[in-house]
């Protein structure tokens, strides 16, 4: 049985830094316009309600928080400034803290940034005629990776809660 956990709810509220989650009156404007509703069944108003009822632990370990397309329509349209997007981001952060299921691509991006400064590796692309190109052949300038000190500072930043 799912159990409410008031402490976890407090944690989410702290991460929201004053955004008024409690004001959500379930008008469902967020869900009506949600990009991920049709294909992934994300219902932002339900997430709001569950967090308000302190069912945070279930959400933090659920796949549903990773279905948000971050289109921000819910933030824009919420009449109560309860912003489901920001609640979802806070839940994702909590999921990472608790080492719950996190899509691999996110952690891969972090380690890529540590290594090179960028979240993606430089790619070889092809023209429509299938000729291979890269930055050099396209005469695009080379911009250096972050200086040596960056890695340590970024690691420190990742330890902050």
């Amino acid at each position: 049985m799912a159990k409410p956990n008031l402490e976890s709810r407090e944690k989410i509220l702290r991460k929201l830094r004053g955004r008024e989650l409690i004001n959500c009156f379930q008008c469902i404007k967020c869900t009506s316009g949600c990009t991920a509703l049709k294909l992934l069944e994300l219902k932002p108003h339900e997430i709001e309600k569950l967090v308000n009822f302190s069912f945070v632990d279930e959400l933090a370990s659920s796949d549903i928080i990773w279905t948000c397309a971050t289109c921000l329509k819910c933030v824009q349209r919420c009449p109560q400034k309860a912003s489901p997007y920001h609640v979802i981001v806070a839940l994702r952060n909590l999921a990472v803290e608790r080492e719950a299921k996190v899509p691999e691509a996110f952690m891969k991006a972090v380690s890529q940034i540590l290594e090179t400064g960028l979240a993606e590796a430089y790619q070889k692309v092809t023209t429509r005629k299938m000729e291979a190109c890269d930055r050099e052949s396209l005469k695009l300038p080379e911009i250096p990776a972050p200086k040596a000190g960056f890695q340590a500072v970024f690691l420190k930043a990742l330890e902050e809660r």
């Binding site: 830094r17 990009t35 991920a36 294909l39 992934l40 990773w66 279905t67 948000c68 397309a69 971050t70 289109c71 921000l72 329509k73 933030v75 824009q76 981001v89 806070a90 994702r92 952060n93 990472v96 996190v102 899509p103 691509a105 996110f106 952690m107 991006a109 972090v110 940034i113 090179t116 400064g117 960028l118 979240a119 993606e120 590796a121 430089y122 790619q123 692309v125 023209t127 429509r128 005629k129 000729e131 190109c133 930055r135 396209l138 695009l140 300038p141 911009i143 250096p144 990776a145 972050p146 200086k147 000190g149 960056f150 500072v153 970024f154 420190k156 930043a157 990742l158 902050e160 809660r161």
Partner: protein, 293 residues
């Protein structure tokens, strides 16, 4: 009008969406914008936001600190996602003294200086509000009268309004006006505000491709000559991945997709190769043959 701005490209443009970078580097100086690259590459923090909010804010503030090193007070960020991430971080850090103190200290450890006064621009508002439509129109030497185009402005550059975005959240017009400044026609369509799905490539790639494919399919049935984008993520989804998106939704997709700066470059009569038009994976020849006819 002449302006000098620092430019932060983010990851996607530097690592794969070369056509956007090429066309920005080619077109903006011709419209009076001098670009100054930052000292280093860096991620804005967008994918990190889902992992650790603080670390994402630190990365964004580090971007502004790198911009600060150029001595310029304006920063061009041509990626919607980076533009949003930096704007959000800027506000969060300005409002939270504790977070700010920590980040200032971290930047100091690297010899960098926190500066939240740097104004962040996107290609859309830099051209529309700063160079302005008259300035853009004056530079056009080959009006693209034959073209009927749709615009996709993307999500994070127009939402959410409280944060201060480049255009109206529900009825964005600036990109359409820039398209019209080239002499082309810009059409309105029902799916205009639909998301390209790019963020879901990280967790649900099939859904992401379905979202992109669905929008392209709807536009095809409208009979437009092409779709204009101004974000590398949207370009990736609608252009680079158009074929894959078609396979995912079981439709034959062949809609020319190009960057706003590529379109402007054509109107300025810049060589196609310099605009990176050979790199677009969608059938842009269809559109190019219409303007050379």
């Amino acid at each position: 009008m002449r302006v000098k701005v620092a430019v932060f490209w983010g990851c996607c443009i530097l690592a794969s969406q070369y056509a956007y970078e090429m066309s920005v580097r080619e077109v903006l100086p011709k419209l009076g914008v001098e670009l100054v690259d930052l000292r280093e590459v860096l991620c804005c923090g967008d994918p990190v936001r889902s992992v650790n909010d603080f670390a994402a804010n630190y990365l964004s503030m580090r971007v502004l600190a790198l911009a600060n090193l150029t001595g310029l007070s304006d920063l061009l960020v041509p990626c919607n996602r980076c533009h949003f991430t930096i704007s959000e971080a800027k506000r969060a850090v300005e409002r939270d003294e504790k977070v700010r103190e920590k980040i200032v200290g971290m930047l100091k450890a690297e010899g960098l200086e926190y500066n939240s006064d740097i104004k962040v621009w996107h290609v859309i508002d830099l051209l529309h509000d700063c160079i302005d439509l008259k300035g853009v129109g004056k530079a056009v030497v080959r009006p693209l009268k034959a073209l009927k185009l749709a615009s996709h402005v993307g999500c994070q550059i127009i939402r959410y309004s409280d944060l201060g975005r480049v255009d109206d959240a529900e009825n964005p017009r600036k990109m359409d006006e820039l398209i019209c400044a080239t002499g082309a026609e810009s059409v309105d369509y029902n799916e205009k505000l639909d998301c390209c799905g790019s963020h879901l490539m990280l967790s649900h790639p099939d859904t992401a491709l379905s979202l992109a494919g669905g929008k392209v399919k709807a536009l095809q049935s409208l009979g437009v000559d092409g779709l204009v984008v101004s974000c590398p993520d949207c370009g990736l989804m609608f252009d680079s991945k158009q074929k894959e998106a078609g396979t995912t939704i079981g439709a034959k997709l062949n809609l020319p997709v190009l960057y706003l700066t590529q379109l402007l470059g054509l109107a300025l009569n810049i060589e196609q190769e310099k605009l990176g038009l050979q790199l677009n994976q969608s059938p842009v020849e269809q559109l190019l043959s219409k303007i050379s006819a």
